[in-house]
């Protein structure tokens, strides 16, 4: 496998944009990434586009990547749309990485787009794809993470205040991210006073409905030298499907732990080496679980880790300096590529106002989806990527 570098990233602001066209969001992100990389769009040799819910919500089941790239003069190359639940964008990135790492192509683009404000049922949680039995019981993603929160509290003494600290930290970071959906600080008290969605989770423990697009240009190390003197290298990549086991412990995600292990081993990097991480904080409790599954702290210590400020900018490992899904927003297919854009900016020391000083190693983690069963669930897809400058 060859060394692969990210030489350009782009991202729209993440926000509610019901009037926008999902294709335009993708075009804007791609043009930003192409400009950032300083390449001619016709130099791109292969493309992957992640989107999760454009079929049901927008009537665009396929061809999203093609339609975006057609408008910016990229055609006649291998192009594949990628759908892998909330990990669609990060999976598109992994496929682009594989295409270059394998030696088959020198330059690839990974795109992620989504427009969720198009859905009906304003004010209600987005129902999950592919879960007809659970939906019949009144399931929505918050109900799953609320149960995780209650069990984590029961087993490890995690508190509602510690959950709220995640939301407050990430909102504080988002105040310095001009592309974040919400840029006004909230306090722990405000999180706890917000409406209860699925007890013990409050509104501000839950990620919002978001639209947006993001893109990244990848190329081989040799080609990267032609375009930039500040490449960010992909050090490791992991992708796992849900690891279903009966009587599974709900307070951990085996697929996340395994995809993290894959990426760490490939990179020869350990959790203690990571300076900055963008993790899938779809709900506040999820971020605490990810600290544990990604090896940032011991099992059950997630609540203590946030309380001690060890994941704030300036702490042991800065988690979600962008604001995370909770405050930057969660346009499903775009989320994974947006995380990668943030890590690239961090490793280039371009994240003004929220910069993790001296960051050399970054991690992204993006996961989601629910299996269509009544057995204890697990996320359907988990991706972890490691980056170094």
């Amino acid at each position: 496998m060859r060394e692969v570098a990210v030489i350009g990233v782009g991202m729209t602001r993440f926000a509610k944009m019901p009037e926008a066209d999902v294709i335009d969001l993708g075009i804007q992100a791609c043009l930003d990434a192409i400009k950032d990389a300083g390449i001619d769009p016709r130099a791109i040799q292969t493309a992957y586009c992640g989107h999760a819910r454009t079929g049901q919500l927008l009537g665009r089941e396929g061809g999203v990547g093609q339609t975006i790239l057609y408008q910016i003069g990229v055609s006649g190359i291998p192009m594949v749309d990628v759908s892998n639940f909330c990990a669609s964008g990060s999976t598109a990135f992994r496929e682009a990485w594989l295409a270059v790492a394998s030696g088959l192509y020198d330059i690839a683009i990974a795109i992620g787009v989504e427009q969720l404000t198009a859905r009906s049922g304003k004010g209600q949680p987005l129902t999950s794809d592919n879960v007809k039995y659970l939906t019949a019981m009144g399931f929505s993603p918050p109900t799953f993470f609320a149960q995780i929160a209650r069990r984590h509290m029961y087993e490890y003494g995690t508190t509602p205040e510690q959950l709220a600290m995640v939301a407050a930290k990430n909102r504080g970071n988002a105040c310095f991210n001009p592309r974040a959906q919400y840029q006004e600080a909230v306090t722990v008290e405000q999180v706890l006073a917000s409406k209860v969605i699925a007890d013990p989770l409050h509104l501000l423990d839950c990620c919002p409905t978001t639209d947006g697009g993001a893109a990244a240009i990848l190329c081989s190390k040799e080609v990267a030298a032609r375009y930039t003197n500040r490449p960010v290298f992909v050090a490791g990549s992991g992708l796992r499907s849900g690891a279903y086991r009966q009587m599974r412990d709900i307070t951990l995600f085996p697929s996340d732990a395994q995809s993290a292990k894959d990426a760490y081993e490939m990179a020869g990097i350990g959790p203690g080496d990571v300076d900055v991480a963008e993790v899938h904080d779809c709900f506040s409790i999820a971020e605490l679980i990810h600290y544990e599954d990604l090896g940032f702290c011991a099992k059950g210590e997630g609540g203590r880790m946030i309380q001690e400020g060890r994941t704030a900018i300036g702490g042991d490992v800065a988690v979600n300096p962008s604001g995370g899904l909770l405050s930057k927003g969660h346009p499903l297919g775009a989320t994974g590529v947006g995380q990668i854009a943030e890590i690239v900016w961090q490793l280039r020391s371009e994240a003004t106002g929220r910069q993790v000083e001296g960051a050399k190693v970054g991690l992204t983690h993006c996961a989601g989806g629910f299996q269509d069963t009544l057995e204890m669930g697990e996320v359907c897809a988990s991706t972890v990527h490691l980056f170094k400058r």
Partner: protein
Amino acid sequence: MAEQSKAKSASEAATPDPFLKDFFLIAASPDKEPHLIGQRCSACGGYAFPKRVLCPHCLRGDTSEPALLPPRATLYSYCVVYVPPMGFSAPYGLGTVDFPDQGLRINAPIRSDDFDHLELGEEMQLVIERIRESSEGEPLLGYVFVPMREWTASPQGGKK
């Protein structure tokens, strides 16, 4: 109480939820108990719920037999939903219950008059009752778990 009896008479007229109907057995008579319908593998003895194409333990495909699960389970976790999807009335409980003897941990609606005092590890009783309304407003029956102490206090209310 008026609310309860109204709910009860509604459930008597209700039909099983089309998505869930294959997974539970309504009690044949008032002195019988309802059951969830899982499967047991005659080769390895492993259980599954809901049924699977292959036994999830040994991956054999022709050895699975329907198996009635006991009507009691223990509460593993739950949440109380305050922002309901279409067809549901908030607040309602959704949780996970354990069948330790069968090695199963499954999702289930949870009913309680007192969610504040519901404790993980509590013994729960299976009841079959209205869980939601169809898009035409028809009540639909599903399986629900009720804390044993509430069901014992009012078993008639549980054996609908």
